[in-house]
Amino acid sequence: MVRLEKKGFADFIRSLAADFAVYAPVTANGKSGFKVIESAEDIDATCLVTDRSPKEVFFPHSEVLFEYDREGVREVEQPAKPIAVWGLRGCDSRGLRLLDMVFGSARQMPENEMFQDPYWKRKYDHSLVFGLACNEPRSTCFCNWLGGDPHGGDGSDVFVVDAGDAFLMEPRTDKGRAFIEKASGLNKASGKDEKKAAQLADAARKMMNPPGELDGLDARLKAVFNEDIWDELAAKCVNCGACAFVCPTCHCFDVQDEGKGGKGKRIRIWDSCMFPIFTMEASGHNPRKLSRDRFRQRFMHKFSYFVDNYGESLCTGCGRCIIACPVNVDIREVVRGVLSYEDKGAR
């Protein structure tokens, strides 16, 4: 563990920015998200979970894959600098790790060579992820339901604890270690620092609501797929895409060509299973015709299909969907509803 004095933070970010495009939480017009920063002053240090998720740093809302005209196809030029992300909470750094299973499979799961997405990999593989511990989790935080920890740092290259007057940093990957060895302005942390970090971690864990029990959720979801419970759970959902678009792990996308006069571009755009057109077939048939069928898909994907494919849930407990949902659909209540339906069935 190393220690960076807060008074040295501006210099730290300045030197980081010399080698990286640095993304960090920035608040504008009352809403926060990860943006490229010029200096440490741009960072909103009061942010716990940003309104917009950091997935857009590596998987933007819309991304031009290539451009074309009558002469041929051209790749879009990439920024020269690799990306560093500062201030990722555990739910978000884990979110990136989960997305990397989908888009960059080689790095995490060498046996899964189904697909590697070059647009993701060219950004994420060269990135440096600074996780930041949550000292004060909120009531909507539930990473502990999913095996997360406010001081866990899952998916970080360097895990950072804000200890008041200093940041305490711990490398978690080879990339992180290489960075820490090279970085200036860092001192070895003392035993007192380590103790302080442990105290903050304990306090944060105590601040969290007790975790809900998720054992058997995958099997229950599969078992109740055709049950009326979905009508009940989905009754208030209006099928907008707010949940999917603020989610750090929802990654379904659409591909569109935008062209005119012999030239154009191919674009990848966020999509959402909540939208009716998401599964609309060319014949006009829609296998997920009703609101509740689309609602169900989001939870099946998160807690069943993704578990089948990758061995983990595709939810990190950040709570953004709970905050953004205009009708207060709470993912925790949906999960509880599915699990307690088992009880009703057993009676």
Binding site: T46, S62, G241, N328
Partner: protein, 321 residues
């Protein structure tokens, strides 16, 4: 008030007058009540009504290609003034049958703009909410704040002159008619003073922050096309990226499509996860419709909607020059 509401709803369900009542119940977050679907008399006690009840429940009649409206089920619905106007619009547009709806009006003192409350709380999370006599109190860790409700109400409520239902079957308390004396359109007056270029600039700035999640459209009772034009892909009318031209086409066409149909409930603004000022253009359209056609949306379910009616004496300067 809430006890009377629960009592009335319990009786409606127990007597078999309705099969379902849509209202609000306490949500999982302090500032967000959540739509409630009550089907048995004993569940009536879940109902609440206060300034956290910001959704417009009329939307559930037309959700899912008007599944509920077409079902023929008898439904009770708890409504604020604006929500009742949406029902009147549905009746005028023949999207619901009057005999299938029991309208239960509740006295509305305005609903919260959660972004305004969050600003006032300065980043501290609100864990408890209570209200009394035009004051609201929010509490949380290191937070105990009492605010004038007026300071944190939705913009739509600050300019609302019809707080209570005008058409109803049951009213909890006494329904108030038009409430004048509010500065009805201050923000709109300011907007109208701007030059066309300045207006364009302002709306460009607002819409540039849109993430195209369509929460505004989907919570809007007036937006009930079976297939929205942005979801059509043969032909595709509009690009899907958050690029500003396409985003503006979405918002402006939606705005024009709800002109003379928007009840200014503000559900769109409250739903927006990016906190965009979405009601402004809708209010502008509503003012145009009122000035030209003398029509205010949702006042009378027997009146033909402005865009479905023609009168010889109506103002035609937009055609004649």
């Amino acid at each position: 008030m809430v006890n009377e509401l629960r009592e009335k709803v319990r009786k409606l369900l127990a007597d078999g007058d309705v099969e379902l009542v849509i209202g609000w119940e306490k949500g999982s977050r302090a500032l967000a009540a959540t739509p409630a679907f009550i089907e048995s008399p004993e569940d009536a006690d879940r109902l609440i009504f206060d300034a956290t009840c910001g959704n417009n429940p009329a939307v559930y009649f037309t959700k899912d290609a008007r599944r509920l409206a077409k079902s023929g089920r008898k439904v009770g619905i708890v409504v604020k003034g604006c929500d009742a106007r949406s029902l009147s619009l549905y009746l005028a547009e023949r999207q619901a049958k009057r005999e299938n709806i029991v309208i239960i009006g509740v006295p509305c003192r305005g609903v919260l703009d959660r972004n305004k409350v969050a600003d006032a709380a300065g980043g501290r999370e609100v864990l408890e909410y209570s209200e009394e006599d035009g004051k609201i109190t929010v509490r949380g860790k290191d937070l105990d704040l009492t605010l004038d409700a007026e300071d944190v109400l939705s913009n739509s409520c600050l300019t609302c002159v019809y707080p209570d239902a005008r058409e109803y079957d049951i009213f909890i308390g006494e329904a108030r008619d038009r409430q004048d004396g509010k500065d009805q359109n201050a923000a709109l007056d300011e907007f109208e003073k701007l030059s066309p270029g300045e207006r364009w600039e302002k709306m460009t700035e607002v819409y540039s922050r849109c993430i195209r999640c369509y929460a505004c459209r989907n919570v809007c009772p007036s937006c009930y096309c079976n297939e929205c034009f942005v979801d059509q892909n043969d032909p595709q009318w509009v690009g899907k990226t958050p690029e500003i031209t396409d985003t503006m086409i979405f918002h402006i066409i939606r705005n024009l499509h709800v002109a003379g149909r928007c009840v200014e409930c503000g559900a769109c603004e409250r739903a927006c996860p990016m906190g965009l000022e979405l009601l402004l253009l809708n209010r502008k359209a509503a003012r145009e419709v009122e000035e030209r056609f003398g029509y205010v949306t949702g006042m009378d379910s027997g009146e033909k909607p402005a865009m479905a009616d023609f009168r010889e004496d109506e103002k035609q300067d937009f055609i004649m020059g």
